[in-house]
Amino acid sequence: MNSFSPIQASSPKKTVLMREGDQAVQQQPGSSAVVKDRVELREATVRFAGDSGDGMQLAGTQLTTVSAAVGNDVATLPDFPAEIRAPRGTKAGVSGFQVHFAGQRIYTPGDKVDALVAMNPAALATNLGDLARGGLLIVDANSFTKRDWEKAGYTSSPLEDPALAAYRVISVDITDLTRDAVKDLGLTTKEADRCRNFFATGLIYWIFDRPLDPTLRFIAAKFGKRPAIAEANRRVLMAGYHYGETTEAIHQCYVVRPAKLPPGEYRSLSGNQALAWGLIAAARLSKCDLVYAGYPITPASDILHELAMRWDYGVTTFQAEDEICAVAAAIGASFGGEMGVTASSGPGISLKAEGLGLAVMLELPLIVVNVQRGGPSTGLPTKTEQADLFQALFGRHGECSIPVLAAQSPADNFETAIEAWRIAVRYMTPVMILSDGYLANGAEPWRIRDLSEYEPIPVRHPGPDTQGFLPYRRDERLARAWAIPGTPNLMHRIGGLEKQFDTGAVSYDGANHQKMVQIRAQKVAGIAREYPPLTVVGPERGKVLFVSWGGTFGAVRSAVQELLETGHEVAHTHLRYLNPLPNDLGEVLGLYERIVVPELNMGQLAYVLRANYLRPIKSISKVMGRPFNVEELVESGRQALEED
């Protein structure tokens, strides 16, 4: 939220409109021939917006990578339309990618945008509202003809709108300059125009002092097989960069210093990628193969894509005919002794519900991932939401408790996957992981892990000499043994019908059913004994405690930090485990007068906490397909403190 606040500005918390000649440290950028002022910023937020065919996602991903590579902390928010190719130039087709980079730890992609690249009028119309006053607005002037702005619903040229005076507008003939840069390469106009995103990227790199090398390497690798295209993209990137260097229009440039992250080797990692890698890592830790069965659905498909590339790491992937087959095949794989995993989003999870019921009855390990999106039904398929918590907790038939874990940041999906795997194996149970569209597509720097940092995950399949084997005999955690086909002497049949306690034979006996329902519930409830204690940021006891879960962690943590820094006594705890809830949660809640639960749903965790702890809970609810702004949570915190 600290839009363009030069680092020595008096209040770090308020947006400081950047003006030329601000009392900033004057830098001499080593790489440039023309010396321009470089103001040091604590952080900056840049958004690329254009038509869905304009390559904005690529531009954003590149800015993410280079910003991470200079040592900034980074958080991103890709935002794409539901239609693959909505009519060109219309608002429905606008695709965006927001990158927040900072010289300190940050937890959100930023509330307000400091620099907006608008490749056409539709992109301007849909994104201008998020640009901070005084922010930089870069537009492709060639794409603002009358026809263009009419398509976006304007009745006059938006560039001539006096309201734009509130921003620093840099109007560049991006299309012309791009075509110029590649004119002797024999490209079609269409091919040439496809490089425009790299012009904007280059220009942003100049303005924010980003290194070109990582992107040059990326271009060489990606377009290596088509030298003319590679050369075109390279030239256009350089053209954008040099344009910044030479143009009179840009007077002010910036630098954002490296953040103080824990030492180590880092890379940029997106949520879905982190989840896939966490699964691969868990497979190694457990010496158990990963069999992934999926069906395409936004925003979970990238998990399938990522894993489908990883057979060389021992992964098997299977694209099923539907969501039901995906979960059923995963169950089949687990019965065979490997780990079956499936991922989907809300509507697909609904279809898997019956399979989850079976997995609970079979007491087999299984991992089901829900990358949540706006619902119900097809809802807002490309936007984020947290409205499937009830579904995860209760969305099955019968008494059917399963462990539910939620990732808190894009890279945290890695840890969550390993944790889910550990629980699934140790307790012989299906486990649900909740991610969401924001976490899945967002990226952040990730310290590269060494597997030796993790405890192994022991997997035991009883051997043929097992004495007194009974399929449903339980260990001290109430988990049954994972006996697998192929093992002589242990032949047994399992199924969806109720089991007799320990023999596993079909039983219709009422008393036995009661016992089995209780045992299955107790088994899951017992998992909480192994949780680490809850951590609380802020005062140990007091007036207001924020409780968050899942992808809202970053916004809530940022808001609480801001409140604490401005002398407001609020605390924050974050829940990774949604079922069973941590054993110490009741105690922690009891230390505060007021509990505030912000969620991207209508108050589902708030409902659960009220029911479990008989406490009044203040729910902060948002269902707009976007994460919380930090500012709105800061405001909620202030209000909660003032109420009596």
């Binding site: 990578t65 991470a68 590579a69 200079v70 040592g71 290194p211 090398d213 990582p214 990326f218 490296p258 103080k260 824990p262 180590g264 080797e265 880092y266 890379r267 940029s268 890698w277 691969i280 069999v291 990883r310 057979w311 060389d312 790491y313 021992g314 098997t316 299977f318 099923a320 005919e321 539907d322 087959c325 059923a328 095949a329 995963a330 169950i331 089949g332 794989a333 687990s334 019965f335 065979g336 002794g337 490997e338 079956g340 019956e354 019921g357 079976l358 590269i448 892990r449 000499d465 697998i484 086909p485 192929g486 093992t487 002589p488 002497n489 047994h492 049949r493 399992i494 199924g495 969806g496």
Partner: protein
Amino acid sequence: MSIDALLETPQLGPNDYASNQEVRWCPGCGDYAILAQVKKTLASLGLPREKTVFVSGIGCSSRFPYYVNTYGIHSIHGRAPAIATGLKLSRPDLSVWVITGDGDALSIGTNHLVHAIRRNVDINIILFNNRIYGLTKGQYSPTTPLGHPTKSNPYGSLDNPLYALSLAIGCEATFVARSIDVHQEHLGMVLERAAAHKGTSFVEVYQNCVVFYDGAWDYATDRDSKFETILELEHGKPLIFGKNRDKGIRFNGVEPEVVALGNGVSEESLIVHNEKAEQPTLAYFLSRMHQPDFPEPIGVFRDVLRPSFDELVDQRRREILDRIGGPRDLDRLFREGETWKIGDGASQSAQA
């Protein structure tokens, strides 16, 4: 090694495949006969019990896994082929059987059936067709004949029935066969052939439900009529049927035609069965022969060899891993693309 394991020799008899569960089908149910033949087949194949898995969905027939002493899953209505597919992905070494019924396979689970067959997963699917929902007590199924009154359509079914074999052949099935619960020898032969086939074996068994649709297959089992209503297929042999083997089937354009042999009509004019035909055209043609116009063929309609899905998956898995000498190190994965080091405040960019 335990005594039991030592005794695990190919000399197992059908009874060794019986589980300790009491069989709970209605007395007289056709399922008993099928169970007996399956156990016999397992014994004759000499398959280790622990290497065999029965997967079923829901319905009377789906209780089957409880009654065989192998591994088994009694799963969800219609999902057995999907579970079996996943099992074969993780364990291509197992012999996997799917036991299903006309409601389970052709109504709620059709999608999985279609895709397991077209993938040619190496499983044996045995569909017990009794033309009715038995477990739920007598509603019409996708194979109930038009007009047949049931509890859920007392005025007679209006649903056009589905023919299991036509569907399977349309899904590119590599092995398709049909038999009848009480034709013990024939059923045993068909099951053995199904088990021997690599890839999906699809077998429809006419099964009598004594409670809810008794006599559904009387025409096919009746001592007197069966020779006129059933035609036993034999590879390389002309299509001949009748008590006196005096009738045959020949082409009349693209339609089948029943002809009486003799009077100038010779065997040479009849269709010769070829279960190995590359194209499934003949198999499909045979699957369209229904009572009362034609005798219904039983036996192996089609038996061709194609790589099975699980075999292809396993092959690719091995090829990839063999080429690189085992699964790659995770360090390599984590360092793909741009990485950088952060030390004491200093930062540098590196490329993996």
